[in-house]
């Protein structure tokens, strides 16, 4: 059978989705030895012990069955209580859904909201899964650029310029992966105005909400008139170092959450029960450990930002998440070429900015969820590499 004939049996929608740009770097880095990686999008902490211990206890008591489709009622209540800190008020019985990671919540929200012909507005550079999920839901993706001059904040003008009569959903990701940008309440108010004027629905991925430095995270759903047109997506992965547990959630208006629940009950049934027990422990008793981890990211943020600026790569201080996004345009290289050469010559893995969207070109994403020693060693290697370029 030829390759051509093989691909015929695939759905053209799936077939048309390009392979992940991150995957290519993973394959390259994975073949090498002594790699220092600043390319990992997850915490370097193991899940705090009290959370692991709570999950062990749950297993001992036999929490191994399905839970209700929505998720454990106690967990839904813990989620709504937790969201109160961000001035978000939801009914745990109707406006919350526990999902298999924030990832599933993103997929469900898009599937519940869009149909072929609808346009999904995705400000970029941004996290890589919104576009494929929107395409799989049959939508047309419209890229909304954000620019380094604005510190990669989304502006109302840029959004307005991309809106058409077919625009249906706007996907926000702040604090942002990969840029570390945040949006203040005022920034969001300008976006909310556009959303209301054009009757856009917002999917707001706030998975990095806990990881802000020097300011409290603001949610667009807390603004007047926005709760009824926003699905807040979040999860335990980043704030509580629980990536492998696969627990996320969505909160929003009852009709949309119910539609998402309908898809979820047929495709996932429920999120893993021992993970849900662990999440319950994290949300109810995890603040101290979480604060300790955030303080540690904050220190390393200063270290990495300083390091890049000292070697002559402009790097704004990211206000959220755990990524620095230094500007490499003065090296004259493209992001891809820079990252590939850096990896081959110095065994330091970082991620080219353009895999997150066209305006990420000229930047590289460097995670500082790595030990101080590793960050210092990586910075030293990158500085030597950059020196040779000039």
């Amino acid at each position: 059978m030829t390759i051509g004939a093989r691909s015929h049996r695939l759905s053209p929608v799936v077939d048309a989705i390009p392979p992940s740009g991150i995957r290519r770097f993973f394959d390259l880095a994975n073949q090498m030895e002594n790699v220092i990686s600043l390319g990992v999008g997850e915490p370097d902490f193991v899940t705090p012990w009290h959370i692991r211990e709570a999950s062990l206890y749950a297993l001992e008591r036999g929490f191994t069955t399905y839970t209700s489709n929505r998720g454990l009622p106690e967990l839904c209540e813990a989620i709504t209580a937790y969201l109160e800190d961000f001035e978000l008020h939801y009914d745990p019985a109707e406006e919350v859904l526990v999902t298999v990671g924030g990832s599933e919540a993103i997929d469900l929200a898009l599937r519940a909201l869009v149909c072929p012909g609808d346009e999904v507005l995705i400000p970029g550079p941004t996290y890589v899964s919104y576009r494929p999920c929107a395409l799989l839901a049959g939508a047309t993706v419209v890229d909304v650029p954000t620019y380094p001059e604005d510190n990669f904040r989304l502006t109302a003008e840029a959004l307005e310029a991309c809106v058409t009569s077919a625009s249906k959903v706007l996907v926000l990701c702040y604090p942002n992966n990969p840029t570390g940008a945040i949006m203040t309440s005022d920034d969001l108010a300008a976006i909310a105005e556009v959303a209301i004027a054009h009757d856009l629905f917002v999917i707001s991925d706030e998975i990095y909400a806990e990881l802000t430095y020097g300011s409290q995270h603001a949610s667009i759903a807390a603004l007047p008139g926005m709760k009824e047109r926003t699905i807040v997506v979040s999860g335990l992965s980043k704030a509580f170092a629980m990536t492998g547990w696969r627990i996320g959630y969505a909160a929003g208006p009852e009709d949309v959450i119910s539609a998402m629940l309908k898809v979820h009950q047929y495709t996932s049934l429920c999120a893993p029960s021992m993970g849900q027990m662990a999440a319950l422990e994290a949300l109810t008793h995890g603040k101290e450990e979480k604060d300790r981890m955030v303080a540690s990211y904050d220190r390393r943020r200063r270290l990495i930002v300083d390091g890049f600026n000292q070697m002559g790569l402009t790097c704004h201080s990211p206000q959220g998440a755990f990524y620095a996004f230094p500007d490499i345009r003065n090296t004259g290289m493209s992001s891809q070429d820079f990252c590939e050469a850096l990896l081959r010559e110095t065994q330091v893995a970082v991620v080219p900015g353009d895999v997150f969207g066209a305006t990420g070109e000229g930047f590289i994403r460097c995670s500082y969820a790595t030990s101080v020693q590793q960050i210092e060693a990586a910075l030293e290697r990158i500085a030597k590499f950059v020196d040779r370029l000039w």
Partner: protein
């Protein structure tokens, strides 16, 4: 230096005293000079007493034996427990001395080259001190965790090298 920064500096040093003053300055968000001065002052005030290393002695060939000894004492007029504690902690084989609440008074950790050395210390030195009423010696069999460091169970980085 502000108190919060000073505390943060101390916490960082307690975890890793080999961090350079340059790195420490960046991590707590201040200048190298300020860190140097703060450390000097903390040393002078005996807040920082010593820069030491946590070592897993079981992995090196010199056998050491450690015992925790509970000591009951009759406190002395005027000086209470302090005078007896002082007589005990001056011995170099004594690694730590704590005054404890509960049934026993002082908890003393002693290190020696073998069981005999420790027995000898207890019977000849410790038990004979005036006002030491009784001693109970517990030999340490295995060290799992010390100074916040877990000895044999490393939680290695199991993450994929590149991830979204």
């Amino acid at each position: 230096m502000k108190d919060v920064k000073e505390l943060e500096l101390l916490r960082l040093l307690a975890m890793d005293s080999r961090l350079s003053t340059q790195t420490l300055a960046t991590l707590v968000g201040t200048s190298q000079e300020e860190v140097e001065q703060a450390v000097r002052e903390l040393e002078q005030k005996h807040v920082i007493l010593r820069y030491s290393t946590v070592i897993d002695w079981e992995k090196v060939a010199t056998p050491r034996v450690t015992a925790v000894i509970e000591v009951k004492v009759i406190p002395q007029r005027e000086v209470g427990f302090d005078a007896i504690a002082e007589r005990i902690y001056r011995f170099p084989e004594v690694r730590s001395v704590f005054l404890m609440s509960g049934g026993n008074d002082l908890q003393v950790t002693v290190e020696g080259s073998d069981l005999q050395a420790i027995s000898r210390f207890v019977s000849e030195k410790l038990a004979t001190i005036e006002n030491v009423h009784s001693t109970t010696t517990h030999f340490m069999l295995k060290k799992y965790k010390e100074a916040g460091v877990i000895f044999d169970d490393h939680e290695d980085d199991r993450r994929l090298v590149v991830a979204p």
